[in-house]
Symmetry: C2
C-alpha cells in the first residue's frame, strides 16, 4: 500500500522536505484492533512538530504520520466487539502504537474508533476528533469553563482553533479569537467568536482587557507559545489559566514576565490531548461528550479548508505552515 514516510527530520522552514510516498506492507490487525481502508486523513500542527523533531513523543525512522482518519473497516482483530467489516468509521488520535493514518490502510484500537457521523463527507469525518477532544479536556475537565466565562483562543483560524471556538461556545463561554491580521476577523465571527483580536495590528493584552471590561480572561487556549505568551500573560483574570498546546511560534522556549502571573494568581499549563486519552475512562468520557453534542447539533461539522491527494501531501503541509488556511486541511487517499 502507499504510505507517507520520512527517513529524516524536516527543516524548521521546510518541515515536509523529508516526506515521501512509499510502498509498504499492508498491516494485519492485532487483538482489539480494526483495520480500515482510509478515505482521508486530517493534518495537524503536531505533524509538523513530529516531522521537525520537536514533538514530545518520538518514534524511530522510518517514521509515519497522520493522527485521524475516515474509512471503512475491512478487517478486524481478535476480540473486537464494537465494529464489523464494512462499518464506516472515524479514528481518534493515538500515538501509542502503529496507528499512523497517512496510508491506504490504517490500524486502530477499537476504542479509538467511532461511527462515521451521518451525512458527513470523507474529509469532514477525517477532521474533527483532534479539534474537539483537544478542546474538551481543558475546557470541560481540567479547568471547567462556566457560563459567561471569557475564553481566549489564539491562532483561531486553523482546525484546532475553530474546534476550540465551538467547544467553548457549547460550554456557554464568551470567546475572543485571535488572528494575525484583520483579514480573518469576519470569518471568525461567522464561526462563533464573540470578539476578535488581530495580534499584529493591536496590543493583545489591552484588547483582551478592554473586551472583558477589565476582568481579563478566565482561560487562554494557546497553540502559539514562545514569545507570544508575553503578549497575553497580563490579560488573565484573577486565578486565570493559560494552557499551551502547540508551538506555532516555532520557539521551543517560552518567555514572559513573571509579575503578572503572581499579581493575578495565574497559572501556565502544558497540555497535550495524548496525555489524557491514555486513560481509557477519560477517552470514553470525551468521546461520549463530543458524540452527544454532535448528535444534538451543538457541535458542527469541521470547516474544511482544502483537500489534497496523498501525492501532494508536502504542499498540504506547506499550506498549514503558511497560516493562510481557514479550517482543517485534509489529504485524501
Amino acid at each position: 500500500m502507499r504510505a507517507l514516510v520520512y527517513d529524516r527530520l524536516g527543516e524548521e522552514d521546510d518541515a515536509a522536505t523529508g516526506l515521501v510516498v512509499r510502498d509498504i506492507d499492508i498491516p494485519e490487525p492485532g487483538p482489539g484492533e480494526i483495520r480500515l481502508l482510509v478515505s482521508a486523513y486530517g493534518l495537524n500542527q503536531a505533524d509538523i512538530l513530529l516531522m521537525t523533531g520537536r514533538h514530545y513523543t518520538r518514534s524511530d525512522f522510518p517514521m509515519r504520520i497522520g493522527y485521524e482518519a475516515s474509512g471503512v473497516v475491512d478487517a478486524v482483530g481478535a476480540g473486537v466487539t464494537r465494529f464489523a467489516i464494512g462499518d464506516r468509521v472515524t479514528t481518534i488520535p493515538n500515538t501509542e502504537g502503529p496507528y499512523s493514518c497517512a496510508n491506504e490502510y490504517a490500524l486502530a484500537r477499537e476504542e479509538f474508533a467511532t461511527p462515521w457521523p451521518e451525512g458527513w463527507s470523507q474529509a469532514e469525518a477525517a477532521g474533527y476528533w483532534m479539534q474537539y477532544l483537544t478542546a474538551y479536556f481543558p475546557m470541560k475537565e481540567l479547568f471547567p469553563v462556566a457560563e459567561g466565562d471569557w475564553v481566549v483562543i489564539t491562532a483561531a483560524s486553523g482546525g484546532s482553533g475553530l474546534g476550540a471556538i465551538q467547544m467553548a461556545k457549547a460550554l456557554g463561554a464568551r470567546v475572543i479569537a485571535t488572528t494575525r491580521t484583520s483579514e480573518k476577523r469576519q470569518f471568525l465571527i461567522d464561526q462563533g467568536a464573540d470578539a476578535t483580536i488581530a495580534t499584529t495590528e493591536e496590543d493583545t493584552t489591552k484588547a483582551i482587557m478592554s473586551i472583558t471590561g477589565g476582568e481579563g480572561a478566565r482561560l487562554i487556549a494557546d497553540g502559539i507559545g514562545g514569545a507570544f505568551v508575553a503578549d497575553y500573560i497580563d490579560a488573565l483574570a484573577d486565578k486565570g489559566i493559560a494552557y499551551i498546546y502547540g508551538a506555532l511560534s516555532g520557539a521551543n522556549d517560552i518567555t514572559f514576565p513573571v509579575l503578572p502571573l503572581v499579581r493575578r494568581r495565574a497559572a501556565l499549563y502544558g497540555y497535550s490531548l495524548i496525555n489524557e486519552t491514555r486513560d481509557p475512562a477519560a477517552l470514553a468520557r470525551g468521546v461520549a461528550f463530543v458524540t452527544d453534542l454532535i448528535a444534538d447539533g451543538v457541535l458542527h461539522k469541521p470547516v474544511i479548508d482544502r483537500t489534497y491527494p496523498l501525492s501532494e501531501a508536502p504542499a498540504a503541509y506547506d499550506r498549514m505552515k503558511s497560516g493562510v488556511q481557514r479550517g482543517k486541511i485534509i489529504v485524501t487517499l
Copy 2:
C-alpha cells in the same frame, strides 16, 4: 519616631541605597487597628523587590518598609476586641494600608496580629509569619501536599526556604532543598531537608530525578525565577506544579522550554501571600493552622541569621542580597 524611609528606588545591585532613617509622626490607630511599640522587624526578599520597583504592589514616595514585627500594644483603635494595651504581639504581613514595621511604632489591623509565642525572643517573634504563611497556602490549600510527596524548595537557606522546609515536613512531604554551593548542605539537612542539591555544582534536573527515583517533584517552591526555571522544569512529576513566589534571580522574565511542561502535564503558578491574606477567612485559616502547629511543637522558632540595629538596616539588606545568610535577618528597633 524613627522610621526607615526611602524617597527613590534603589539600584538593582544596591537596593538599599535610597534608605534613610527619618523622624516622622507617631501614627494613631484607626478603627480596628492596634498600635505597637516595635521590638524588632523581619527582613524579606519582597522588601528588595519593593525598594527596586519590582514588586507587584507599589505605593507612593516617600515609601516605608517592613512586613512583620514583634512588639507591645501601646494603643488601640475603636472597636478592637482581640488585644489590649500591654499585650505582646506579633504582626502578619499586610501591604494594604499604612502598616510598615520598620519604625518605632507600627499600626496593624487586629486580625493581622497574634499573641507573641511563649518563650520566643524579640527577633524570633518578628520573623515567622511570612515564612510559615507563605508556605501554608500553596502547600496546604492550593496544591495540597500529601504524605510522601517530593517537594523541592529552592534557595532554601533563607527565612522563606527554611519555613517552607518545616511546613512541607509538617505535611508529611519529603524535601529536596537547593542551595548554590555545597557549603550549606549540612545546615539544610540539619533543618529537616531529606536531600540537598548544590545548583552551581550539579545538574538540578538530573539530581531531582535521581533523588526521586525517576518520579520527579510533585511541587516545586521557587523563590528564584528567571532562567533558573529551565533548570528544574523537566524534573516535575506528572501533573506536578512549580510555583514562583520570588525573583532572587533578579530577572523579570522567566524563560524555559515548553515541551517538558506539556509532556508532564505540569503547571507553573504565580504565587504571593498577600493575594491570599486579602480574604479574611483564608487569613484566619492560615493563622489558626500555623498557631496550632507551633503550639504542638511541629513548627519551630525561626532560625535567626543575624540581627542589626535600625541605623544599620542598609547593611542588613546587603547581607540578604549576598545570599550568605542562614535563616532570617532581623532589625531591632
